[in-house]
């Protein structure tokens, strides 16, 4: 039986990995991920599971050691944040190209400079094209669920890709939340032991990570793209199974009060909860607003997005990172491109919000929507806006 408990979300993420009986954890501490690292080491130190904890000397080595361990057939977990994720950048696309099903919790945090330890998504966005499956959790329950789902998705024979679970730093990692911790037996039934396709062992020697030139590189890239694209079917199936077993439903884009909504707002991560309260308030005022909470960032849920925005006049895309000198926020850029070939599409507004831990309250989300409602279909001068920026 699942147990309802109050627990710090970072600790819960580590607990979820323990329920998956990881064999190896290779983690380097960084705020606000540290509690994940520390708790993983506690679990191993107490012998709660039979695993190795590698106290690597950097994040580059964390991912490298994770890859080495994963290549032997071990189930591997790691976690990082911000500068640590940037430091890993070199090896991330190699992990996916080598089809190593590593699971990584990311306590999302702003990237320097200036140095800032608070939450936004500027760490994960530069990793967008590294070929990882990328999930975004909204609350502690989703963190636990996604960490467990992640192993099942990653290790599926038709996927064999690494997965990152994005957890807003502080806003989410450091909250003590009431949540349901699945029972070990239930998780064991859901997640069978990892059966790797090939491993590093002298009984059946293989060469992994070979050099490949222009005669095959394109083919490898296409295979990786196809793996990502095809993984969606598995993700959806895993979520269906999860719902059956644990009673909680997951969708690539979760709608909130979308029925009859003329103005939709799209969020990723923990801000969905605040935005939902704002939507309730707006509805009370008679403003036909709704919310789209995107949980699946890679593979990008094109069909679900197209379906979700049908009928809406305006779509406000919130971004927690900036593509400097580019189209505004990376999420809006992708949403615009995904909807471009639709016969009818909503006007798209891009609000860059909550950078470096800048607080977003219910009133702020309401203000954003009301401003959009007032403007109607009138085109904005700017393609994007730094919401709440102080100027002069």
């Amino acid at each position: 039986m699942s147990k309802r408990i109050g627990i710090e979300v970072a600790v819960a993420a580590a607990e979820a990995a323990a329920l998956c009986r990881f064999d190896v954890a290779a983690v380097y501490p960084i705020t606000p991920q540290s509690h994940v690292a520390e708790h993983l080491s506690n679990i191993v130190a107490d012998g709660r599971i039979d695993a190795e904890f590698i106290t690597v000397e950097s994040e580059h080595s964390a991912m490298s050691a994770a890859m080495g361990a994963s290549a032997t057939g071990a189930r591997v977990v790691t976690a990082t944040s911000s500068q640590g994720l940037m430091y890993m950048h070199e090896v991330l696309p190699i992990a996916s190209a080598m089809r190593l099903p590593i699971v990584m919790a990311i306590a999302n945090r702003a990237v320097s400079g200036p140095l800032n330890i608070l939450n936004d998504h500027s760490d994960i966005m530069p990793q967008r094209d590294s070929g990882w499956i990328s999930l975004f959790a909204e609350n502690g329950q989703e963190v636990v669920d996604m960490m467990i789902q992640a192993f099942k998705i990653a290790e599926h024979r038709d996927v064999q890709l690494p997965v990152n679970v994005n957890i807003d730093g502080f806003q989410l990692t450091h909250m003590v939340e009431p949540l349901e911790m699945p029972d070990q037996k239930e998780v064991d039934k859901f997640l069978p032991p990892y059966k790797p396709y090939a491993t590093l062992h002298p009984d059946k020697p293989v060469s992994m990570g070979t050099f490949a030139m222009n005669d095959v590189y394109t083919e490898v890239m296409k295979a990786k793209d196809a793996a990502l694209v095809n993984s969606k079917e598995v993700i959806l199936a895993v979520w269906k199974e999860w719902e059956k077993r644990f009673g909680r439903a997951y969708e690539p884009i979760e709608g909130y009060r979308v029925k009859g909504a003329e103005i939709l707002m799209l969020t990723m991560g923990s801000m969905g909860e605040t935005a939902a309260v704002a939507i309730d308030e707006l509805r009370k005022k008679g403003i036909p607003a709704g919310l789209l909470k995107m949980k699946l960032w890679r593979p990008f849920p094109f069909d679900e997005l197209k379906k979700a925005v049908k009928g809406a006049k305006t779509l406000i895309v919130t971004d927690r990172a900036v593509s400097f000198g580019g189209p505004g926020g990376p999420v809006a850029g992708e949403v615009r491109s995904a909807l471009y070939d639709q016969p009818t599409r909503p006007a798209i507004i891009n609000e860059i919000i909550g950078l470096g831990g800048r607080d977003m309250m219910v009133e702020h989300f309401m203000e954003i929507v009301m401003k959009a409602a007032k403007a109607g279909r009138k085109k904005r001068k700017e393609a994007y806006e730094f919401y709440g920026v102080r100027e002069a």
Partner: protein, 324 residues
């Protein structure tokens, strides 16, 4: 891939070789190393000494490139390459993975050694952090640096292993430059400072000495380090047929002495004839030193003498930890 049955390396090979080494090839013919490549020879010897129960993690560099062009591979032992700076970290993960799986009974209960390998660039420069971390953490692994004294794979650029006075593509000799202006970093000494139970220098010029060291390191539990000198005819602008001769000259001149440090105790494993041969005998055979005027050769000779005395002093005065 296996050796053709009529393949004869040396006269009467069949008679005495099996007593000295494994006939089996684990780094097989057909790879794309240059003629006379000392590094390829050293890797081959290392594999023979390690045997089949080995997982090799290879940093980016010449050996990775020449041995693994997809869809071919020269490797008969399990082999992985991830990137340039991280072979030691990957190898430490391999060790941890094998250890966990073996303990849980998920794989056979058999001793499989994790071995990280890299060039001097991969080991001494960009990968020194990962190496230091892996060695300090006490993994049961061996790391072997194949030192050809520059970044050969990318076109003979200088590294911290490049000797003083060598002309490289980023430390070229010119009108106002004698080439590389720094002395070779002493990585074995840095490894000794990690309190490893076993650190050794080696050279493909002394194959049995090298293989014995690899076997010794392999048999130890815990981290160990071997720094293997390898001649690169392409980068050194030396004739490919004198690769072995150059490797031996490096030791005979005292430029690259062969020693091991076991539990803190230094021991010469190859005693060169004294007095040592002049460094010029070694330098003059290589294009990378051809520009050096006599006064600079003297500077090198003095430094080599001093370094050699420093080493002899350690050999004479160091004690094993158990005697302390």
């Amino acid at each position: 891939m296996s050796m053709p049955s009529n393949f004869k390396l040396v006269e009467n090979f069949d008679l005495y070789a099996p007593k000295l080494t494994d006939r089996e090839e684990y780094f097989c013919p057909g790879h794309r190393a240059c003629q006379g490549c000392g590094e390829a020879l050293a890797v081959r010897l290392m594999c023979k000494a390690l045997g089949k129960d080995t997982v090799v993690t290879n940093a980016t560099g010449c050996m990775e490139i020449v041995g693994s062009l997809y869809p071919t591979t020269a490797w008969k032992v399990p082999w992985i390459h991830v990137a340039f700076p991280n072979a030691a970290a990957v190898a430490s993960g391999v060790e941890a993975g094998l250890k966990a799986l073996r303990r849980q009974g998920k794989i056979a209960d058999r001793d499989v050694k994790s071995v990280g390998i890299g060039g001097d660039g991969a080991t001494m420069d960009i990968g020194i952090q990962a190496l230091s971390g892996a060695m300090e953490r006490g993994h049961d692994m061996l790391y072997v640096c194949f030192d050809n004294e520059a970044y050969m794979n990318t076109g003979i650029q200088r590294s911290s292993a490049t000797p003083f006075g060598a002309s490289t593509t980023t430390a070229p000799a010119g009108k106002v430059s004698i080439g590389n202006k720094t002395w070779k970093k002493n990585l074995p000494e840095i490894m000794v400072a990690h309190n490893l139970a076993y650190v050794a220098t080696a050279s493909h010029g002394y194959p049995l000495d090298f293989m014995n060291k690899v076997k010794k390191a392999r048999s130890l539990k815990g981290p160990s380090y071997i720094h293997c000198f390898t001649v690169c005819p392409t980068g050194w602008r030396s004739a490919s047929e004198i690769t072995m001769k150059l490797a031996r000259l490096a030791t005979e001149t005292g430029i690259f002495p062969l020693y091991e440090v076991e539990n803190g105790k230094y021991r010469m494993t190859v005693e060169p004839r004294t007095p040592l041969r002049p460094v010029e005998d070694y330098l003059k055979l290589q294009g990378r030193f051809r520009h050096l005027p006599p006064d600079q050769i003297k500077v090198i000779q003095d430094r080599v003498n001093m370094e050699y005395r420093k080493l002899l002093n350690k050999v004479e005065h160091s004690k094993s930890w158990s005697e302390m």
